[in-house]
Structures are given as C-alpha cells and as structure tokens.
Symmetry: C2
Subunit: 150 residues, 2 copies
C-alpha cells in the first residue's frame, strides 16, 4: 500500500501520515526500493486507531499513550479509563468556556436592535469600564489547543 492508498484507507491526509511518522507517533513505514513508503494492514489498523482518537479530540501526546496501552497486552483497563476520563474533563472544561461565551453573546445580541441605528449593547459592553463577562469573575481563558486548520 502506497501512502496515497493508506491515506484513503485511514482518512488521514498524506501530509499527516508523514508528519506522524516524523514526530515518532507511529513507527516509520517500510520503504520500497525507490524509497516509497509501504504500509501493511497492521500499519493501517494502527493509523485508523490514531485517526479515531483524533476524532475524539485527543492530542498527539495522549494518542501516543493510548497506542502504548493498546499494544500492551498486560495493560490495566484502569489506566485507559483514567486517561479517557481526564480527557473528558478537559473537553468539559472547554465546553463550559464555550457555554459562557455563547450565553454572553446571545444575551448581548438579543438586546441589540440589529437595524441601521448605531447604538449597540454588544459594542458598549465590550467597551465598558467593567468586565464583560456576566457571572464568575473573569479568569484567564484556558486557550488550550483544539487544533488548527491552517
């Protein structure tokens, strides 16, 4: 299997396949005589694992741990569960932050005429002397990575 076929089979872009190899997330693929990467079914299975973990929002480092556990027949399911639950807590934290932003914005937008007059509570709130957020003193928003589409 060439890298292009592997990409189709796993849903991971060719770029990312090479990148995952480069950072050591997955072992380097074998090479053909001409230097082309060659993927076995086992490779593909592993990459599909990676892709699904990405879909669940795991970061590459966490995926590395998951892969280790996956391949360790003597793992304790407690370790896997704990990793997963840690991640859930992180996702929930992000969701709470989103919730707050959405609630504030919807509140403000709801009170904005949205016509051709200039007065707008959204801008006045952003420009006001007090802090913009409603409840809960403003805290440093934990801008944890959620990946980026370049």
């Amino acid at each position: 299997m060439n890298i292009g076929e592997a990409s189709k089979a796993t849903g991971i872009s060719v770029k990312m396949l090479r990148y995952y190899e480069e950072i050591g997330l997955v072992r380097a693929a074998l090479r053909s005589l001409s230097g082309y990467r060659v993927y076995s079914d086992k490779n593909i299975a592993m990459l599909r694992f990676v892709r699904r973990a990405r879909d669940l929002g795991f970061q590459v480092k966490q995926i590395a741990s998951l892969l280790d556990l996956w391949q360790d027949g003597s793992r304790a399911s407690a370790d896997v569960k704990s990793l997963a639950l840690d991640h859930v807590r992180e996702l929930e934290q992000r969701r709470r932050e989103l919730d707050e932003m959405i609630a504030t914005l919807e509140h403000l937008a709801h009170h904005c005429h949205g016509d051709d007059r200039p007065d707008c509570p959204i801008l006045s709130s952003l420009g006001s002397e007090e802090d913009a957020e409603p409840k809960s003193k403003r805290k440093k928003v934990s801008r944890r990575s959620f990946g980026v589409a370049g």
Copy 2:
C-alpha cells in the same frame, strides 16, 4: 503609562501588547525619548475592548472588524449583531463537536471496568474496523482554531 502598567490595566500580557501592535490590530503606541511605549487612557480603553473580545472567543481578524465598528459612529447595529451571531454559530458548532466527543467517550468509559484487567471497550472501539463515532457518519472534524497555549 508604560507597557508593564498597560499590561496590568488591561489583562493583556506585555508580549501580546507588542504583538497586537506589530500585526496592526491596534495603532502603534507613542514612544518616550528612550523608546519606551507610552499608553494613553484611550489606548487602554481600546486594549480592554480587545481583551474582552478575546475573552468572548473572537479571533483577531474579527476583533479588527469589531474595533472598526466601535470607532465608527455611523455604524449600523445590524452589522455588529451579524458579526456577533456569526461568531455564536461558530462557537455552537464547536460545542456540538465537543458534545459528540464527550458523549462517545463517556459511553465508552462507562462500559470500561477500570480495574487491572486488560479488556477495555475504549481501546477496542478505537481499534475496531468500523468507525468510532456513534450516530452521524464521521465527518471531517472542523478543527477550527481555538487559540493555543504555547
């Protein structure tokens, strides 16, 4: 006001104050004879606006638009509202993605013993032949930027 004081007054790090200036989000601060940036109350107000917009998850480009509207006395509130609601829709999209991830993970974790036995539905699901997500065919997760904490 020096940059350090401005940083305390706005909640924006010194680094970011310089960065926002560099990318043209805010006009360059005046300089003292020795080259130190000097911030006026007006500058501070503008920067507080920026910080609050960031807290609401707006991206720098959107903040630039918001700043323009803020300073344009003849703006139409409709334009502001539309910008805000676009942003809300984006946040809601991200929240939906988080919800799906959380639901899937909680489901899987719930069925994991979490003891010292190795069998674990989390890993088997990630490693299975089918797709990991429950409802809704897997779609490309829109990994839109949510900022990054370096």
